[in-house]
């Protein structure tokens, strides 16, 4: 991983979450990141650099500088017209 996104003080890392660049505390595992984002880990699914993480990995995978994360959940939906398509980054 490149260190380009690191802050000078080195206490945060730069990650992209759901298409937005964010600074998050350095050294967080995925579970702590979700809690830091005030999300319930049991109600979301996380994809890290295009790989889906199983929930039992959340505590052991550390968020690295430059990671691209998608955090998704279930929303109301029937067919195409009854939901609002939103592009995920690939």
């Amino acid at each position: 991983m490149s260190g380009a996104g690191r802050s000078k003080r080195g206490d945060t890392v730069g990650v992209r979450i759901n298409g937005e660049d964010r600074k998050v505390p350095r050294g967080l595992d995925v579970r702590s990141l979700l809690e830091w984002l005030e999300l319930t880990p049991e109600l979301v699914v996380v994809e890290r650099n295009l790989e889906i993480l199983e929930r039992d990995q959340y505590g052991s995978v550390t968020v690295e500088d430059g990671d691209a994360l998608e955090v998704v959940h279930f929303v109301g939906g029937g067919l195409a017209s009854s939901t609002f398509p939103e592009e995920m980054e690939s």
Binding site: L43, V45, R55, E70, H73, F74, G78, L79, S82, S90
Partner: protein, 274 residues
């Protein structure tokens, strides 16, 4: 005697469970009606309408969490996954690759391995891209998903989807959200006649008579969303749909009289007074 009906001491008894349950992918659902959860004005109405519809299986979509919480929170805050069987869909996907990605995210949520596969091919009509749908269905079936595939009312595509291992094929009644009802009963009957897996009509039903007519073709079930969510009274329409789906199924099982373009008297023509 047809399935779902028997006679007891001269009385015809309807076996409610057999006309109302839908067996799909090794599951026995308590209703032939499957409903979507989108487009409702509020979550309380959605839950009330779903309960009124009697549906056991409900579809949900996968979307990004809104980190700023300006949008609605996740549906699991409102819908109890122990009360309803959650059927994740790939709504809004336009390629096999995209649908496969959404499918895997949905499965990682940990509820079940059923998936309503939907790959749209045209933004204006929202008609399915059948080539991408077949391709995605093949990959996902090999990956262990129980795929219920949304498709056109095209027999050959329906056969291909069955061939690649879909556990149900879901031809449309008419375009998504159109409320045009069943535009091609003949093709729907033909698909039902030729497939071994359940045929569940998906999309286009607008009101109770549409649902009833669709079930009268002999299909195994119906999936609808907008017909309930966009009704003036979603709970009332959900109740109507519950009866319509059941009435249509019973009428199909009962076997309708032949239709003909001449009148036939139903009272004796003999014995009239001079």
């Amino acid at each position: 005697m047809t399935e779902g009906v028997r006679t007891e001491g001269g009385e015809t008894v309807v076996l409610e469970d057999r006309s109302e349950t839908l067996a799909v992918g090794g599951r026995e659902l308590g209703s032939r009606l499957i409903v979507g959860t989108g487009k409702y004005s509020d979550n309380a109405t959605m839950v009330e309408a779903i309960r009124a519809s009697g549906a056991a299986m409900v579809t949900v979509a996968v979307r990004r969490v809104d980190l700023d919480r300006t949008q609605e929170e996740g549906i699991l805050h409102h819908l109890d996954p122990h009360e309803f069987f959650l059927l994740a869909n790939t709504a809004g996907c336009y390629s096999a690759e995209e649908a496969i990605r959404y499918a895997r995210l949905a499965r990682a949520a940990g509820f079940n391995d059923f998936l309503k596969l939907e790959v749209i091919g045209d933004q204006e009509t929202l008609l399915p891209d059948v080539q991408e749908t077949i391709e995605a269905a093949k990959v996902l079936t090999e990956d262990g998903f129980k795929v219920m595939a949304y498709t056109n009312d095209d027999l050959v595509t329906a056969l291909r989807l069955e061939d690649v291992g879909c556990i149900a094929v879901m031809p449309l009644a008419s375009p998504i959200g159109s409320g045009l009802g069943l535009v091609n009963p003949y093709f729907i009957r033909e698909i039902k006649r030729r497939l071994e897996v359940p045929v569940i009509v998906d999309a286009g039903v607008g009101t109770a008579s549409d649902a009833c007519l669709t079930m009268e073709q002999g299909v195994d079930g119906i999936l609808m969303n907008t017909a309930l969510a966009a009704a003036d009274d979603p709970v009332g329409m959900a109740t109507a749909m519950r009866y319509a789906v059941r009435a249509g199924r019973l009428a199909f099982l009962a076997g309708r009289m032949p239709s003909r373009e001449i009148a036939v008297p139903s009272s004796p023509t003999r014995g009239m007074l001079d």
